[in-house]
Symmetry: C2
Subunit: 202 residues, 2 copies
C-alpha cells in the first residue's frame, strides 16, 4: 500500500498548510508555556520558535487564553487514551508509563502546577477539567470492556483511575526518583488484585 497523500499538491488538501502552521504554533506554545509559565510566554517568541509570522499566531488565536488552552488540550490528547489489547493489566501499565512520561516533561509540570488552586484563570481551569474528563471517559470505556469480558468484576472506573494514577503523580511531583515500568507493574498488580479480592460475590 502506497502513501497516496504524500505527493499531492497542497491545493488538493484544503487547510493542509494552515493545519501544519497551527500544529507548529501549538507545539511552540507548549514549549514556551513550559519554560515561562502560562502568564509569561509571548506571541513574538511563539512565532519565532514556530518559524511563522507573528500575524499567523494572532490570526489563528486572537485570544491568548484560547491559544494556551488548545496547546494544553493537544498535549493531553496523548495522555487521555487507554489502549485495548485485550489485556487490562498490560493496557493500564502502558497508560501509567505514558502518564509518567508526560508528567515528567516541562509542559506536564506546568500543567500540574496549573492544577493547584493558585489563581489560574477560569478558562485554563476549564481546559484542565476537560483534559481530566477525557481521561476519565477513556478509562471508563476501557474498564467497561474488561468487565464485559470478565477480566474484572464490576468496578467504579473513576476510582480505579485514581488508585493507579495517584501514585504516579505523587512520585513524579516529588521528583526524588523516576516512576518506572516496574513501578507501574507493581501499582497495577496490587490495585487489580485488590479490586478482585474486595468485589462483592455473586
Amino acid at each position: 500500500m502506497t502513501d497516496r497523500t504524500a505527493d499531492r499538491p497542497p491545493a488538493r488538501r484544503p487547510g493542509g498548510r494552515n493545519a501544519r502552521v497551527r500544529a507548529r504554533i501549538l507545539a511552540a506554545t507548549a514549549e514556551l508555556v513550559a519554560r515561562d509559565g502560562i502568564a509569561g510566554f509571548r506571541y513574538e517568541e511563539v512565532a519565532e520558535s514556530a518559524g511563522v509570522h507573528k500575524t499567523s499566531v494572532y490570526r489563528n488565536w486572537p485570544d491568548r487564553e484560547d491559544l494556551v488552552v488548545e496547546a494544553m488540550l493537544r498535549y493531553a490528547e496523548d495522555l487521555a487514551s487507554v489502549a485495548d489489547t485485550g489485556d487490562i493489566h498490560r493496557d493500564l501499565v502502558d497508560f501509567l508509563v505514558a502518564l509518567a512520561g508526560g508528567l515528567e516533561t516541562p509542559f506536564g509540570r506546568t500543567l500540574e502546577q496549573a492544577l493547584l488552586p493558585a489563581g489560574q484563570s477560569a478558562v485554563v481551569r476549564q481546559a484542565l477539567s476537560r483534559i481530566l474528563d477525557r481521561r476519565v471517559a477513556a478509562m471508563r470505556e476501557r474498564v467497561a470492556a474488561a468487565v464485559e469480558r470478565g477480566e474484572l468484576p464490576p468496578v467504579d472506573s473513576a476510582f480505579l483511575g485514581e488508585m493507579i494514577s495517584g501514585p504516579v503523580h505523587l512520585v513524579v511531583n516529588r521528583g526524588t526518583r523516576r516512576f518506572t515500568r516496574a513501578d507501574a507493574e507493581r501499582v497495577v498488580g496490587v490495585v487489580l488484585a485488590g479490586i478482585r479480592a474486595t468485589a462483592p460475590h455473586g
Copy 2:
C-alpha cells in the same frame, strides 16, 4: 491528678514564655505563608499577627528561611504520625483522613505547591524532604508492627505509603471534590487486599 504546672510562676519554667512566643510566631508564619506564599510574607505582619514585637521575630529567627522551614516542620508534625491501635486498616484510614485534612488547609496547599520544582530554595526543599522522610519512617514503623503481628505479609512500606496517599493528593489537588472517610476506607481496603493477594506464598 492535679495540674502541677499551671500556677507555677514563669521563673520556674525557663523558656516557658519564650516557647509560647515562638509558637505564636510560627503559627502566624504558617498563616501568612499560606496567604502570601513562601516568598511573600513579611516579618512586620508576622509580628503583628502573633501579637509580639518585631524584634522578637528577628531575635528568634534572624534567617527568614529558617523561620519558614520551622513553621513547615511544625505543621508537618501532625501529618507525620501513624497511630497504632492494633488495627492496621483503621490506623491507615485515620492517617489518610488526617492527610487529606492537612492538604486541604491553605498552608497544606502552599506546601504542595512548594514541592513542585518551580525553583524553591534548597533549604525549603530540604525541609520538605525531611517532612517526607518523617512520614516514611512513621509508616515503616507502623507497617513493621503489622507484619510482626501477622496482620500483613512482608511489604515495602514506602510503596504501601505511596499507594494509599497518592489518591489523596490527587483528589485534594484537583479540588473537584472532598476526600472523605469513605474514600479512605475504600482506598485502604483495596490496597491491603491487593497486597495480601499478591504476596509471595510461603
